[in-house]
Each structure stands twice: as structure tokens, then as C-alpha cells.
Symmetry: C4
């Protein structure tokens, strides 16, 4: 069973997710830069953050399935679970956006929920990786390439710190954590990339 249709379907879902978030942007009520800043500014920033996250998942997903060779039912469903969690980003992003427009950075609940969504995606991605390891057996090229996976282990911890900070310190501290994780991942994952370059037939 090849991975190509699974990749194509995932690409389709991620492409729609990444794009429908733009529907949440509020068209300013007045034709002025001030209204643009006030009505659309927060939406633009939260959209950018979620876009980067979806981009990171697409990127990693792309690398992961270049090395994965075997797909079974467990992998298909783990992949769908990841797509489900990612498909909630437009919703949690919209709530975060509306909360910032109406209440500034005073409300912590939407930030906490956004962080829980990020954390859930990290867990779903990890489970997908496990499902591929199991499908491929002992000589999995992916397992070898992933290695110690520092970023993958660090991210959930940072998400949890961000959630806790948003809940008990200040929503902005939580957001700062979520931005930091995105930046960590933006630095390209040379580990997988090098492995692909070295072991590609």
C-alpha cells in the first residue's frame, strides 16, 4: 500500500484548513488604516501564527512520509486524527482573535484553549509517528532518521508551560511560548533533511 494517496488527501485537508482561516478575518467597518488595525490586526497576527503552525505540520508530514514506506489501517486513522485536531485551528484561532478584539489580552480562556489545541496536535503527530514505526517494524528508516527528536520532545513541554502561564500568569506570556515554539520549528529540521539527502536512491 503506497503513501501517495494518503499524502494527497492530507495535502488537500491542510490546504483547505490553511486557507479557510482567512475567512475569519474581519473586513474593517471603515475604509481607514485605523479600522484595519483595530478590526483586522489581531486576526492577521493570530492567522499568521496558525498559518506557520499548519506550515510546520505540512513540512514535517512531508518529510515523514518521504521516509515512511508502509501504510496500514492504524496509520490511516492516526493520520485522520491529526487532521481532525489540525482542522480545529481555524476555530480556536477565530475565538482567540475575537477575544483579543473585544477584550484585549485580558482573557486567558481562549489562549488556554488555543494552547490545548496545539498540544493535542503535537500528541496526535507523535501517535502518528508511533503508528508508522509499528507498521514498519525494526528496520524503519523513519525511526532511524528521527533519532532522539529533541524538538518533538521539547514542544509538548513548552505548550504545557504556555498553557499554565496563560492560565495563571498572563495570556501574553502564554502566547509568547506558542510563538517561541513556532520559531524553534521554523529553523529547518536538518536532521531529517540530511538523512533524506544521504539515503535517497
Amino acid at each position: 500500500m503506497t503513501t501517495s494517496r494518503l499524502e494527497a488527501f492530507s495535502d488537500g485537508v491542510l490546504a483547505v484548513i490553511i486557507t479557510i482561516m482567512v475567512l475569519e478575518l474581519h473586513v474593517p467597518e471603515e475604509p481607514t488604516l485605523h479600522a484595519l488595525w483595530h478590526d483586522t490586526g489581531p486576526g492577521l497576527l493570530t492567522y499568521l501564527l496558525s498559518f506557520v503552525y499548519i506550515g510546520i505540520y505540512w513540512n514535517n508530514h512531508h518529510h515523514m512520509f518521504q521516509l515512511a514506506e508502509h501504510v496500514n489501517g492504524a496509520v490511516l486513522w492516526a493520520n485522520l486524527a491529526l487532521l481532525f485536531v489540525l482542522s480545529l485551528y481555524p476555530f480556536t484561532t477565530a475565538w482567540l482573535d475575537e477575544s483579543i478584539i473585544e477584550h484585549g489580552f485580558d482573557e486567558h480562556t481562549p489562549v488556554v484553549v488555543y494552547g490545548v489545541n496545539l498540544l493535542a496536535a503535537a500528541i496526535a503527530y507523535y501517535l502518528l509517528q508511533l503508528a508508522i514505526f509499528r507498521a514498519e517494524g525494526a528496520d524503519s528508516r523513519l525511526r532511524e532518521a528521527v533519532g532522539s527528536d529533541l524538538k518533538g520532545k521539547l514542544s509538548p513541554g513548552l505548550y504545557i508551560l504556555g498553557i499554565a502561564s496563560a492560565a495563571w500568569i498572563h495570556p501574553l506570556v502564554g502566547i509568547a511560548f506558542f510563538v517561541a515554539v513556532a520559531i524553534i520549528w521554523l529553523v529547518p529540521d536538518r536532521r531529517l533533511e540530511q538523512y533524506v539527502v544521504q539515503h535517497s536512491s
Copy 2:
């Protein structure tokens, strides 16, 4: 005539269907967990159920067209009929969701209509399978692999029981049937999978 473009188009449609359902989620009016539970909770559960159903159809569609080799006009249109019925899921899901938010589980009509949508999809899928059998003739690999198709025969009966329960007993009993069918299908279809593994060239 190859099946690849039919699969790509179906993937595209299913990817959009699965993702636009998230647009129906109500952003809570207050930035509190209580508002999230009240405004978005029912939508999240109905979205999850419909997402799983679309995932099941994508999964089965994927397996079916791995074995199908011949596509003719009847197969193309049977496939479009299936996509049409599936494209109504966002609508029937949204109605179910709004009904639950406004009336709790007291109203049976949206549950019945949701069940009819599920039943219609099962029938459309069955017709698509028949169209492929007919296009492939006596030595269809798909026909051989599908075999007695217990799940496929069981599901419509359970949908009808669910519809009847929702109409005459209680909406929640109907929903319980629909959840049960989804769980039955989540158990991976080892029959087809094994056949593909054994007979793949």
C-alpha cells in the same frame, strides 16, 4: 481509463467536505469555558461524528479503488452521486448541532434527517461498488476481496433502526445507533487490507 484522476478529485471533494464542517462551529460569545461548552460543545461532538464518517468513507474509497482497475461513465457518475450525498453532511450536521444547542435532545426531526443522510451515503456507496463490479466483469478483484461484506450489509439496517428509534423512541437512541455504526467501521477492514497485501504486485 485509469482511476487516478477520479481518486484525486474525490480526495479533493472529501478534503473540502471534512474541513468546511469546522466553519459551522460557533465561536463562543463569552471568553469562558462555560460558553465554550454551551455554544461549541454540541457542534464539536457532531463534527467529530461526521468527521469520522467522512474518514471511514475516504478509507473505504481508498481501498476500493486500489482494487478497481476499470472506470467507465457509470462508475464516474456513481462516484459523483456518492460525493453529492456526502457533501450534505456539513448541512445535516449543522442542523443537528443547532437543534441540540437550542432544544437539547428533545427534537427528533434533525436526528432523523441526519440518519437518512447516513443511509443515503451507504446506498450510494453500495451502488458505486455495483457499478465497479459491472465495469470489471466476472473476474473483478474487488468483488473477490469484498466477499460477503458483513459490515456493508449490517450498516443500512442499523441506520434504519437508528432512524426509527429517533422518530419513535428518543433522539438519543438514534444517535447511539449512528455512533455504534461508526465504531464498527473504525475497526479496520482487515479483509480488504489483507487481500491488498497478499495480491499486490
Copy 3:
């Protein structure tokens, strides 16, 4: 230059068009079958009609590019022009739907505009065919397969009759013409299909 990416992009656009039309369906305001019939019935029928039309175009597009071998700039832009016209279907369908809900079948303007959209799509499709003929030169397999193209010549005439009927006789007569053309096309285009079967390598 191969046709595969042009086909993939067109599939993506058509998949989105076909699916976002469902967003126009009005969720009934009451949880009753009567409200479903009144609020959603017209939308369901106009959606079905437009879905069938998009399906027909996808189908014909699919057959056309199985025979087309050469793609140049003119073909790319003729294809985009077709996609633009088709992307207006959700809009003209929504207007038709709202007009029927509010005014019954008494208003002719939305029916006329819907017919003009259908006619524009037929013209765009014809221009795309011409562009492919020109790109392929004298020995175009597509030109040979299309032959006299009775349906393609008949449809614009029927659209014009439908538009005129909607404008001067009654909107329902116009809609009857548009339904009739859809049914004509639903009968599979054996001409192209046979040619593909006979000449496929």
C-alpha cells in the same frame, strides 16, 4: 509540457466549487420537516442541478485532457477562463435559491442570470477545446474524437431558448430547459469514451 498539473489544479478548483455550494444551504429555523422543506428545499434542488453541471464539466474535462497532449499558454488561460465562469455557479445558484424562497417562481431575473452563467460556461469550454486543437495542430487526437460534437452544438441553443423562455414566458420554463440539458449530458458521452478505449496505448 504535460497536462497533469493543469488537471490537478482544475480538479482542486472544481472540488472546492462543488463543495462550497453546500454552504449556501439554509439551516431550517425550526426543527421540523416543514421548515426543512420551506427553508432548504429550493436550495437542495438548485444545488443538485448545479452539482450535476459541475460534475458534467469535470467529466468532460477529464475525457478531454486524456486525449490532449500539448498544453501551451493559451490552453492554460482558456482553462482558467472556464474555471472562472464555473466558480460563479455558487453565486448564481445562491441567488436563484434565495429568489425562489422569497418570491416562489415569479421572478425571472435570477433564472436568466443563471442561464447566462450556464451559457458562458459552454462558450468557455468551447474556446478551451479550440485552444487545444490549435496547440495540437492537424493531427489532434481530441479533434478526431470530438467529431461533429452534437451535444456541444445543441447545448448553447438550448441555453438561449431557456434564457428567452425565462425572460418572456415563465421562469419555470427556463429552468425546465436547464434541467433538460443536464439530463442530455448525463447520458454518458460514449463517443469520447469509446475513442479512449480504442486508442489507449
Copy 4:
């Protein structure tokens, strides 16, 4: 690392962008041609302009990745940056549309913002080209094919002139510049096309 999945994902995103813009079209409130002209006319024209721009980018993207052979992390992220900027078109187009409906062509801010979006896309495209050049090294076929790239150098200048005109002369002068650039690009890019034809294996 092949370019095929990057192209497929970009196609998906562009297909969704190009199509969700149609959701911004206002369904006329009255079933008359006058209401269609007044409520939908500006939206139709701005939609057409943005559709042509997305079509141009798809076209150029298509040509570019036919010549690109190497994809690395920088190319992936430069591509995502381009998709992000292009995904804002539905938003800036909707604002332009609403401004024209409510204020005619008197308001310059939405025109300026639309122009800034066009300019940002041109810059992102240029950065993507640079990233490919760098990934491919000295013997990049793309670099050779692009050559002096007159259009690519001209466009940002014309966008800036359009933005300045919209800000200090009249919004319509700005729009005229943006239409002019679209027309320049509509003339097919024979340079790349010829190169592809000559050097395709």
C-alpha cells in the same frame, strides 16, 4: 527531494484561494438586474482582477517548478510565505469591494492596501525564485531561463506607482495600474515557455 508534493500542496492552496473569493460576492437583495449591478457588480470586477492575479501566479509557479529540480527547507518556507501573502487576496479583495459598494471610488485606503498585497506577493515570489537559485547552485536551469526577467523587475515598480497614485492622486488611477500589470502578465511568458520546450527531455 522532488518538487511534486510541493506543487500539489500549492495547487490545493491556490485552488481554495481562487474559489473562496466567490463567497465574498453579495447576493443581490432584490431579484433585479439593477440590484445585481449595484450589489454584485463591484465584487464581480474585483473578483475577476484577483482571479487573474492568482491565475498568473499559478501559471508562473507552474513554469518555475517545471525547471526547478532541487527543493530544500528554504524553498519550502519561501513557498509557504508566497502562499500566505496570496491567501490574503480574498480579504483585501473583499475590503476593496465593500469600500466601492459603500463609498464608490472615493476611498483610497482599501486600494492602497490591495496594492500593498500585490507588491508583497511580487516580493515573496522573487524571494522564492532566489531560494531556488540558491538551492540549485550555479548551473540552475531556472536561472538561465529567467534571464533578465523584465516583467518581474517592472511589476514592483508599477505596483509602487499604483499605490502612490491611489494615495495621492485618485484611487481609480491606482486600480488602473493594477489592471495594467495584470494585462502585461496575461501576455504569455514566451521566454520560459520556449526554454521549457527547447530543453525538455
